[in-house]
């Protein structure tokens, strides 16, 4: 049993750890992740009692406070009850002694065992970690990085410790060796308390059941590994995951703006946080329990920026949206995909207030949206599908882009506004020279008009942009730049993006989550990588089938059981005929319908990390 209570460590007046609370029982494993300098290694060294700085608080190991033990007794615990594998594989072994000598020393130094036992046990240890017996007589410089790491693990395991601390156990190892070491460590970690210190999220996930995210000497978030990685609650955790290259997520890598500092008042992360409020600047958030998770954030984690609840909408008495539910979090991209006519644009316009919802509610930053006033449009802007039409023909480029600034009563002078307009035009790769500013929409190409429309939306620095096919009129190269711009704004300012597109390949690279729309309903929703790699709904599957690839292979058109029966239903169904209320909207094209699908409309139900509206997947799950 290892328990850390309010541990604070400081070196020369600089506080490195600012109150850490942890508790680990036998057989439990915890990974501490975070950027370099967060204090992870200081934490592990203070448990080992090898810290030079000043420690306060308590580190209880089986009821005894390690911080108050005299050095002699601590020494007997070190390497015997609490062992550690250090991070610098290349330098952590003594260069002048053989591996065997170093392992034997680890056993003999505690004076409990004799030389014969130590020699024999060393032989067993080498075999256990998969090091050749003869390698034992090698010097460290004769071994590969992986072999050195194994030797270090042997030293740590020499006395069968109760607590095993692994500091960056896989850094500097190649992928195959890393996999081998992880396997070995996972086997050896059983029946012990394991503390893994790493910035490698993959290693953390594979070695520990729980993860704690550390930042500037504090724990910001802690929870079960899978849950935390699937749904990070703290903006910092999300930032870490977004910047970590891996085979699971598909979104382009994004960093975290700014730099870590240990001398920050209030929440340690607030200087880099995109959703900070006044209180973050002067009060330190407490680590509070939330279900299975611990979180230290004044805003309760990443806030839902836009919540659409149970929205239904009509156009000319035809119901286009059927109780749609979506959430868009701060700094997140939600891609709304689906074929033309599935109601994507209607949803966007309903959010913007261009259509009135028949029922349902919309919340912006957790406040219900009843009337849309200036404040709303300062926060939310939309880029329309049809750029040529969405810019007034009576305004030139300069006037069109500047207009939002005028409307919102910006106090800036005319020259400042011009400066701002030019900057925004530059961001969308348009020239800001006077001649160009005087052009009218009909002088512009489709791509240019689209970029002017985007510039107009960006000029107010909104928090949320609803972009309806923002790049469908653009060349791929300009499209890439525009999306990169969106992602950069997202990284810097926490811009949330509701991206409406039919291009699932595009959505895959820029969105965090994806919602698939069919006939005015969301049929599947979840993390983009999950939706793309493991689609559950047959409609999603067929969208992915036809998504762009770079091969000559073509996918078979969807086999529909209705095709032979009736060709007319196709058009009927695309219009959103009223009978779609009574059965699954995909029934006519579904390759494997169940009898129930003809009678009932499936509801959106949670199924692993997805939400899916399909009886095939939800019927087995308790409702």
């Amino acid at each position: 049993m290892l328990e850390i209570k309010n541990l604070k460590v400081s070196y020369n007046e600089l506080n490195i750890l600012k109150g850490i609370d942890l508790s680990l029982n036998k057989g439990e494993s915890l990974a501490v992740i975070g950027e370099t300098g967060a204090g992870k290694t200081t934490l592990s060294l203070s448990i080992m009692g090898l810290i030079e700085g000043h420690c306060t608080g308590e580190i209880l190991f089986q009821g005894e406070n390690l911080l108050s033990l005299p050095e002699d007794e601590l020494r007997l615990l070190r390497g015997r009850r609490i062992a550690m594998v250090f991070q610098d594989v290349e330098a952590a072994l003594h260069p002048l002694y053989t591996i065997r000598q170093q392992i034997i020393e680890a056993i003999l130094v505690h004076g409990e065992k004799d030389r014969d036992f130590a020699a024999e046990h060393t032989r067993q240890l080498l075999a256990r970690v998969g090091l050749d017996e003869r390698r034992g007589d090698s010097y460290p410089h004769q071994l590969s990085g992986g072999e050195k790491q194994k030797a270090l693990i042997c030293i740590a395991l020499a006395n069968d410790p109760d607590v095993l601390i692994l500091d960056e156990p896989t850094a500097a190892l190649d992928a195959l060796t890393k996999a081998e070491i992880i396997n070995l460590l996972r086997k050896e970690a059983k029946e012990r308390i394991t503390l893994v210190i790493t910035h490698d999220i993959d290693a953390a996930a594979k070695l520990a059941e729980r993860i704690a995210v550390m930042y500037a000497g504090r724990i910001l978030e802690m929870g079960p590994t899978e849950e935390l990685l699937e749904q990070p609650m703290h903006p910092y955790t999300r930032g870490l995951l977004r910047s970590y290259p891996n085979m699971t997520t598909t979104k382009d890598l994004q960093g975290i703006p700014g730099r870590m500092s240990h001398r920050v008042e209030g929440c340690p992360f607030h200087t880099r946080c995109t959703q900070k409020i006044a209180v973050c600047g002067h009060d330190v958030p407490e680590l509070q329990k939330k279900n299975s998770r611990y979180l230290a954030c004044h805003r309760g984690g990443i806030i839902p920026l836009l919540e659409v609840k149970n929205i239904s909408s009509n156009i000319d008495k035809v119901e286009i949206l059927h109780s749609v539910d979506i959430n868009l979090y701060e700094g997140e991209t939600l891609a709304l995909v689906g074929e033309s006519g599935s109601g994507k644009t209607t949803l966007a316009k309903t959010i913007m207030g261009l259509f009135t919802a028949k029922q349902g509610e919309i919340f912006l930053e957790e406040k219900p949206v009843i009337q849309r006033k200036k404040e709303f449009f300062e926060r939310v802007q939309m880029v329309f599908q049809n750029p040529g039409e969405s810019i007034s023909h009576r305004m030139n480029v300069y006037q069109a882009v500047k207009e939002p600034l005028d409307i919102h009563g910006s106090r800036a002078s005319e020259s400042e506004k011009q400066e701002k307009v030019k900057k925004v035009l530059d961001e969308v790769e348009l020239t800001g020279d006077d001649e160009y500013l005087k052009k009218y929409p009909h002088h512009l190409s489709g791509g240019e008009a689209q970029r002017v429309a985007i510039a107009r939306a960006l000029v107010l620095d909104p928090k949320l942009i609803i972009a309806d096919e923002p790049t469908s009129a653009l060349d791929a190269s300009i499209q890439a730049k525009i999306l990169r711009l969106f992602l950069d704004l997202q990284e810097e300012r926490g811009l949330a993006l509701l991206l409406i597109t039919h291009d699932i390949a595009l959505a895959r690279k820029v969105s965090d989550r994806m919602a698939v729309m069919l006939q005015g309903t969301i049929v599947e929703e979840g993390p983009t990588s999950e939706i793309v790699n493991n689609p559950l709904h047959p409609y999603t599957k067929c969208l992915i089938e036809v998504a762009p690839t770079m091969s000559r292979e073509i996918s078979e058109p969807l086999e529909t059981n209705s095709r032979e029966e009736d060709h007319e239903t196709e058009t009927d169904f695309q219009k959103g005929s009223s009978d779609s209320q009574q059965n699954c909207p995909f029934i006519r094209r579904c390759p494997h319908p169940l009898p129930r699908c003809f009678q009932d409309k499936p509801e959106l139900k949670t199924c692993s990390v997805h939400r899916v509206a399909c009886f095939r997947h939800t019927v087995h799950w308790p409702t």
């Binding site: 020494r75 007997l76 070190r78 952590a92 003594h94 260069p95 130094v109």
Partner: protein, 323 residues
């Protein structure tokens, strides 16, 4: 194989030294006999003796043949004849060499050993009082030239207190044997040895201390601490062992300088070593003896360095002399 490689380079160095020692007198202007024996000796020589010597050194023959006969003579231990000592050069040097080896060898051993121990302890306590006292003390000690310390010691222990002999390596004509002789030798050795040790200790100490300070910051020291090693074990077995390497290199370099570097000490204490011999041969312009000493000391230094190299491979497994 790797050891043979280093032996070959030593052999090449040795041959080069032989060649230089052979060529130098012959390259000098005028009669080589004069270069070999000096002007006074040449004047004192009868023409018959000159002719005999010219023939003996094959001075009329081409250089190649001369070199071969030079080597042959060397093999027989013939390094020439010292007129000043009226004895073969080889015998003269062999009579002094053991004393110098004893003095210098012991001085290097003791100063290295003490330097290492003090360096380790001082480096481990970096910034503490012990460290500061040692550092200041030893650095100021190293400021004195060796002969000055020798004179001070001689004045204090020899002249004022009278507990140490003033000159020589043994009490002359005492006819001591066995243990008594050994004690007598040590008695005479103490002061010159002390002077040499005091001067040489600082270099080793500073080197060890500095290496110790850097080694203590290495990752493997943390590993040793995490094993649960005692402080003493960390100090000596882990950090100290690593700090030994540069010190051994330095000791090898020191040894080379020490044989002739002991010159002043040997003169101050009238110690009958190679240093005194060299000094006297210089005064007397005893050229054959000077050349002999040059050759002998280079051989000794080469041998010493070779031994250091061998020792080094044992100390540091990372070093191999493979090419």
């Amino acid at each position: 194989m790797k050891k043979a490689g280093s032996a070959v380079s030593y052999l090449i160095a040795f041959i080069l030294i032989l060649m230089i020692s052979f060529l130098l007198p012959r390259l000098m202007p005028g009669n080589p006999l004069m270069a070999i024996y000096g002007e006074e000796a040449l004047i004192a020589m009868t023409p018959e003796l000159q002719a005999e010597l010219t023939q003996r050194f094959s001075l009329d023959d081409p250089l190649g043949t001369q070199f071969v006969s030079y080597l042959k003579a060397l093999l027989h231990g013939d390094m020439g004849y010292s007129y000043f000592h009226n004895a073969p050069v080889f015998d003269v040097i062999i009579a002094s060499l053991p004393w110098t080896l004893l003095l210098v060898g012991l001085a290097v051993l003791i100063s290295s050993f003490l330097g290492i121990i003090l360096g380790i302890e001082s480096g481990y306590r970096r910034g503490e009082t012990t460290d500061k006292v040692l550092l200041t003390g030893l650095i100021s000690l190293s400021g004195f030239p060796d002969f000055f310390i020798g004179i001070l010691l001689l004045l204090f222990f020899g002249a004022a207190l009278g507990i140490a002999p003033l000159a020589g390596a043994v009490t002359p004509y005492a006819g001591k044997t066995g243990l008594a002789l050994l004690i007598d030798v040590l008695h005479h050795l103490t002061l010159p040895l002390l002077a040499l040790v005091l001067v040489r200790i600082t270099g080793t100490y500073l080197l060890t201390r500095n290496t110790m300070v850097t080694t203590l910051g290495e990752a493997f020291i943390l590993t040793a601490k995490a094993k649960g090693c005692r402080e003493r074990e960390i100090r000596y077995r882990h950090a100290g062992r690593n700090s030994l390497l540069p010190v051994v290199t330095a000791a090898g370099l020191q040894l080379a300088g020490s044989i002739t570097g002991a010159l002043f000490i040997e003169i101050v204490f009238s110690y009958p070593g190679v240093g005194s011999l060299l000094y006297n041969s210089l005064l007397a312009r005893d050229y054959p003896l000077m050349q002999g000493i040059l050759l002998m000391t280079t051989v000794v230094i080469l041998l010493a360095n070779y031994m250091i190299d061998l020792l080094y491979t044992r100390l540091d497994p990372r070093i191999t002399y493979s090419r």
